[in-house]
């Protein structure tokens, strides 16, 4: 079909990998990943809050990059590796999660899965980030409870932990 545009079929089957598992999800091509993750896959650790990409509560990893699932449409996920907060703790808790626990990097906890996803994307790409880099990476994650004090401490602790183990 080189000379003709390909149309996403409707009904549409999204094939992708979610937390390492291959999925075929019956949906529509423009359905939001947030809906798919929460309603179709019952992975409710990904939270619904502003729904316009301004708060980060719905953050997931797509091929390792932090992305707002409320802005991502099904067709944009085709054949992609999607990781939700539920996929982070594979063999026990991720050290980032442990750092948030130990430093008190959360209160109500509603922003926390998205926040941790963004930290994961940051540290995987840049294990020793500067304050500027931490701030830039987390600027799309709103936390209303902590004032970010515990989050700063948790990210630094997680980064420190990585430096010591590598």
């Amino acid at each position: 079909m080189s000379e003709e545009a390909v149309k996403s079929e409707t009904p549409y089957v999204l094939r992708c990998f979610v937390n390492g598992k291959e999925e075929s999800i019956h949906t529509t091509p423009a359905a939001r990943l947030l809906t798919i993750v929460r309603d179709e896959l019952s992975l409710t650790g990904t939270k619904r809050s502003c729904e316009i990409g301004r708060c980060g509560a719905c953050m997931v990893l797509i091929d390792g990059n932090a992305v707002n699932s409320c802005l991502t449409m099904a067709y944009q996920c085709s054949e992609k590796q999607i990781t939700t907060i539920e996929g982070l703790a594979v063999q026990g808790m991720d050290p980032i999660q442990q750092a948030f626990l130990e430093e008190g990097g959360f209160q109500c906890g509603y922003c926390t899965p998205g926040m941790i996803i963004s930290v994961k994307a940051l540290l995987d790409e840049n294990p020793d980030p500067t304050d500027d880099e931490i701030s830039e990476a987390l600027s799309g994650n709103i936390c209303r409870c902590t004032g970010y004090g515990g989050i700063w401490r948790a990210v630094k602790r997680a980064a420190e932990g990585r430096r010591q183990t590598t």
Binding site: T44, M93, C108, Y110, L138, R144, Y148
Partner: protein, 758 residues
Amino acid sequence: MLLNRASSGGRWRVRPDGPGKVTGGLAYLTDMTTDQMLYGLVLRSEHPHARILSIHTDKAKKLPGVRAILTYMDIPGLNAFGIAHPDQPVLCEERARYVGDALATVAADTLAAAQQALELIEVDYEVLEVVDDPERALLPGAPQLHPGGNELHRTVFSRGNVDQGFRDCAYIVEETYYTPRQMHTYMETEGGLFVPGEDGRLTVYSPTQHGFMDRMQLSRILAKPQEEIRIVSSPIGGSFGGKDELNVQPYGALLAMQTGRPIKIHNSRWESVRAGLKRHPMKITMKTGIDAAGKLMAHQVSIISDTGPYSTLGAEVLNFATEHVIGPYQYEHLDVKGVSVFTNNGMSGEFRGFGGNQAIFALEGQMDRLAEMAGMDPWVFRKLNMRQSDDLGPFDQPIAMTDGAKQVWEAIAKCPLWMEKQQLARMSHSGDEPWIKTGIGAAFTMHGAGLGVGIPDPAGGRLALAADGKIEAVFGYEEFGQGLLASLEQMLMEQFGFGAKDIRMIIGDTDVVPDSGSTTASRATAMMWKSLQKLKAPFSGQLLQRAAAILNRRVEQLRLAEGGIKGRSEEALLLSYKELAAAAGEPIRCETSFSFPTSSTERVGAHYMYTYSAVVVKVEVNTLTGRARVLQQYHVVAAGPVINPQGYLGQIEGGSSMALGFTLLEESIMEKGHYITRNLDSYLVPTIEDQRGLVEVEAIEQLPEGDDYGPRGIGEVGSVTLAPAIAAAIRQASGKWATKLPVEPSFLQETPFFLGKG
């Protein structure tokens, strides 16, 4: 003690609700779903003020998948709610008074069908004149929003004769302060699951700060006995006062009872903005005078509070503001007046700080201006006029005496950040970017806890040894992130000797918990502490007596420990709690109920217990853009013993971040009764980049000998002093006094000095 992980040692603990939160495993009430569930939506008024001529639902009802459409005619009980005074219609009958007013509610098989049904409901409105200014609302001829007029509440407090007082003054400052309509912006919007049982009971899974209050209010609306309603209300994805009042619960409950099916409602952000509470915008005018020696002679205050269309806690917030515009200072003559006014703007209501934020911004602004006028150091000026520990409270009422004011004052006076203020050269034109100017400011408060005189303020809880050997702690409080469970666990461990694994905490379920009162007004930790103090002797005694009988030892030889009973000075476990529970005998169970301590005064709303706190803040103003940035904060809080250091630190850090937003960023903008800021793209709260500065918290724990009230509240004090401190720092940096929040960049902007005058 500077609060941090290092200084806290082993008392810095991982929260019991932490693992579920960091793994996403914890299901919030808005995450819940169930079989046979229907989706609920609410139709809200298109107009901020309108007469409702008719509502036709016929077309909507014919839509496939629609299971119920309810209007005011379908409410079995009272068509109204409101914690203090139920005057907000559940579903409006003949008049809508704001854009969040509900007209109909729909349940359908799918969200799409529910939404289509809303669009098919036909409402005929007669648009009425919008009352969007509280001052104009009080003028003769303004449209009246309620049978009693547009005044919700008035307050008056006076002493002496201010006119006389002002005649004796050497300096007088007159100023008017304006504060914004701040939004709570809890990350989890309102919602929940409403499940009717086969037994006719209704279970409500929906966040609230006081399950029993919701149960009572829903009982009135549904005309259903309270015992037939169960409220499950924790965990909560943030509240800050915003979920204390009913929000979606009436609609979920009505639809569930009507359809016999579970109903799921989860507000979109816009729905939350439109219908939800905000902080009361206030205009506070003050005239304050001092004599030549700097002593406060007269203080005259007028508060106008925009309470929006219905009461909720508007009167109580005004009472609080009235008390806190007087605050921790001593005046010869006082004259304070306040009025809370109904308008067609958004709903105002309970919000962390409860009217203190607005009052303290104005009051502390006066203190800084007066000090400057008198040529005095602002902190020395405060000391000169500050209450002594045995002085009466702001309303001349008896209060629990502490040295908090003095302790906090001294800690600030000697903190390095405050001392740096003297060294900052004002308006220096040096460096690469001379348009950036820095200043330091500080502010002080005494902040009341509890609901105050005249409002039922029950407290209490229960301890029991469960059949499986767990120590059950059962309280009617809610966990909305503040760390209530962590504090409770830590108290049980430290005061009784239990291990974390021995404990099962049960909260937020009206079928199980006693009514411990509302989780609000910085009261829950203090009330849990007091409950445990009262329960300690009887509960420990019963456990030890039972153990003594089993072990054949004397009670005095035994102690409670991690895992079970140990000998006084032995480390070996003699008897596990499980074994103790298995032994025959009456169930071991102790309950207490009492009231939050109140002052012996008739003055409604007057407080008895206070937290003293202050903050020093360093601010940078870029005069090219007029934007201000907070560089550093040093908080001092005198609130008695630190129950949970991580939680305490988090409350002050988090509260101050909200205050930073209140001062520099946040405002729900309304135009003629309509919200302009509908989501987080236009309503901006602080990001991590806005919070890069160091925040330190010094906790003063000492209480007077014999004080048995224990820890004071710390949930709100972090959010009340930062605004005036930032204003004072801006004054030092730029020479300007900010009177309106959030501070407008255009107000602080200057033409670069190198362009010269003109």
